[in-house]
């Protein structure tokens, strides 16, 4: 769930058409029309006011403005069978109620519900539940894990920098690596047991 209270606005006089804002927008709401001297245009229907564009614009051409009527985006969990939500989360080795986006408070279950209702990319998930639109950094991996668990093919935005790919989890670390660094303070074995306990904690959908 995400309350949207801002939107991005481009000053065409300052925009150089460098395309950086287009490459970093997590909801793919920015387009530069034309190959030369194009200006950024923002689709306000999908812009969530995350500020990635204004933060990376080197020319001060994008600013965030207050939205007169804030709106909320969310996926109602009641629209999806709780068992299916739970199964998908656990397959991704996430507890359904685990928070995956610290900025919006989005839990794995809401992302899973969005996927089960048809979202097939991080961009679509951001547009429907708002995750990835606060800090734009920390929540990409659990989202990718849920998409992969649902059998979705991961396709980064062409020429975009939004995200590149899935990375290892604690479950992927080879025993040899765990053993090699155990005496250096990396408590992988113990942390694996912790995650296992989390996954065994009760969920609404069973499991």
């Amino acid at each position: 769930m995400r309350v949207i209270n801002m939107f991005a606005e481009v000053d065409p006089g300052k925009c150089t058409g460098c395309r950086i804002c287009e490459k970093v927008c997590p909801t793919v709401s920015i387009k530069i029309e034309g190959k030369k001297k194009g200006k950024a245009t923002i689709d306000l229907k999908t812009c969530v006011g995350c500020g990635a564009c204004s933060e990376r614009c080197q020319f001060g051409a994008v600013v965030l403005r207050n939205l007169q009527q804030p709106r909320t985006i969310r996926v109602e969990l009641g629209r999806v069978n709780p068992k299916k939500i739970s199964d998908l989360c656990l397959k991704a080795k996430l507890h359904p109620q685990q928070v995956v986006c610290f900025c919006t408070g989005t839990r794995a279950e809401e992302v899973a519900a969005a996927i089960l209702l048809g979202a097939s990319s991080p961009e679509e998930i951001s547009r429907t539940v708002g995750a990835r639109t606060g800090c734009k950094v920390e929540c990409i991996q659990p989202i990718l894990r849920l998409l992969v668990a649902a059998g979705k093919e991961l396709k980064p935005v062409e020429n975009g920098w939004q995200w590149y790919g899935l990375t290892p989890t604690i479950w992927d670390i080879p025993d040899s690596v765990m053993k090699k660094y155990a005496s250096r303070g990396f408590y992988f074995k113990e942390d694996r047991e912790l995650f296992a306990k989390l996954l065994e904690a009760e969920t609404e959908g069973g499991g």
Partner: protein, 486 residues
Amino acid sequence: MTPEFKDPVKPLPPKPSRYGPEPENIKIRASDLKGVVSVGVRDLFSDFPPNIYPSTKGIKAVREATVDALSEVDMSMIESGDSVNILGSHHGFTILGGEPYAEMIKAIRDVLIERTGTEDVRLRAGVGLRFRESDEYIERFGLDKYFDGKAKGVAPIDEGIPIQTEIGTLYGIKKCYDSDWIVHAHNSDVREIHFHRHVDRAVKPFGMSYARLETRSTYHHNLGPRGANFAARAIFNSDFVQKKWTFASFLKPTPAGIAGVDADNDLFALDQRLSIDNFRYYGKILTLLSRIDECVAVLDFQAPIPYVFSAGMIFANFTASSLDIFDLDHPLPGYTWYTESFYGRDEKPLIPDVAPVNPAIKVIVINYAWGGYPSVFWAKSIPTIVVGEWQAEVFRRDPQNVEFMKHALIAEDLETGVEMAMRIAGTDKMIAFDGAPGAMNVSKSLASDLIRMAPEVGGDVERQLLPKWCRQRGIALGEDADVGAK
């Protein structure tokens, strides 16, 4: 015997930033409040090393210490005409106003040019979650001019580069690695113990400031609360990074000031040295803070909520300290992102291993802080009072804190806010996280507690905790120190 209290130490004046309120709104600081006194770090713990800064030598002392530390470092791999990226991070610029860190970076550049003959030396300064923060420091300290236009802030959403590691593919920021060689210019203070758990502290920026968002998400979601910083080690150890690696130069703060500069070609050897120092000095401050029984915390510094300081310790560490957060036997301190993610819909932990947010912090009063870090968790966990509409508006306009003010009250001024907080808390003990150098600004009641508790804390750290913390990380104390453990 009644202890003698000192006048409060004045914090640095507010600084303009796109992440904070307009400085002119911050008229009264915690240190201006009636009854606030300061407790000098050295008055609590007499074994802290002397400062090179602040000192009578001024900023020149940092340059001299840098040149001296680098004199023992091998730079022979760099040839005239090679390109070198000095990699830095935003945090160094928040220590004692930022000038010491900026001066160390300038000195590294000058030594590199003098010793290697190359003139293509660049600065790449990474950030946390405020993507323009380092650009602000580059401008403030004239670094772009100093680097002939080759100083840039870099962010985790900038173009990336895949890096093959022993656990799989991770991603770095391309601009950090667009040179023949890299130099790691950082600071040794503990900073986010709750995240890195002081395991490979010196290596962390390779998994954070110099890393893409995929890696940072791996750190905070995939590897576990005690394995998180392995993302950094995996990248640092990669062939890709090792082929570009030269040396590290670290500014060495203690809670009392800047103690020096350390440099080494062997990052793990440097890490072990700084770990022992940090356990000894920051360990005492944090252990002391963790023994406070009750207090109101006033946040009053130009940084986001978790990064405001008191005696060199960031507020996030204090909120995590319902238990000993250096102790790796504890999986989930009162605050980490793993901790936060393990709270269910009913705002209760999903498993019993989650430690509570430090229950000694009864109320938070935010007089001055930035946005740019997801902070709703604290406002939900601890009653929070925000001083002034201008400060509330910082949070409302921050995409990372859109709902923060739903969980906080607004006071018209600091005096009213603190008075209200003390009534709610039922205590007159107050601590300011205002970045005052070398001291803690606190109420007299808390000052008395700190002075009374410090000797026992010092003994406990030296005799029990320091050896345990070292043992857990494979660090040997004394002459047989197992340095260079890769």
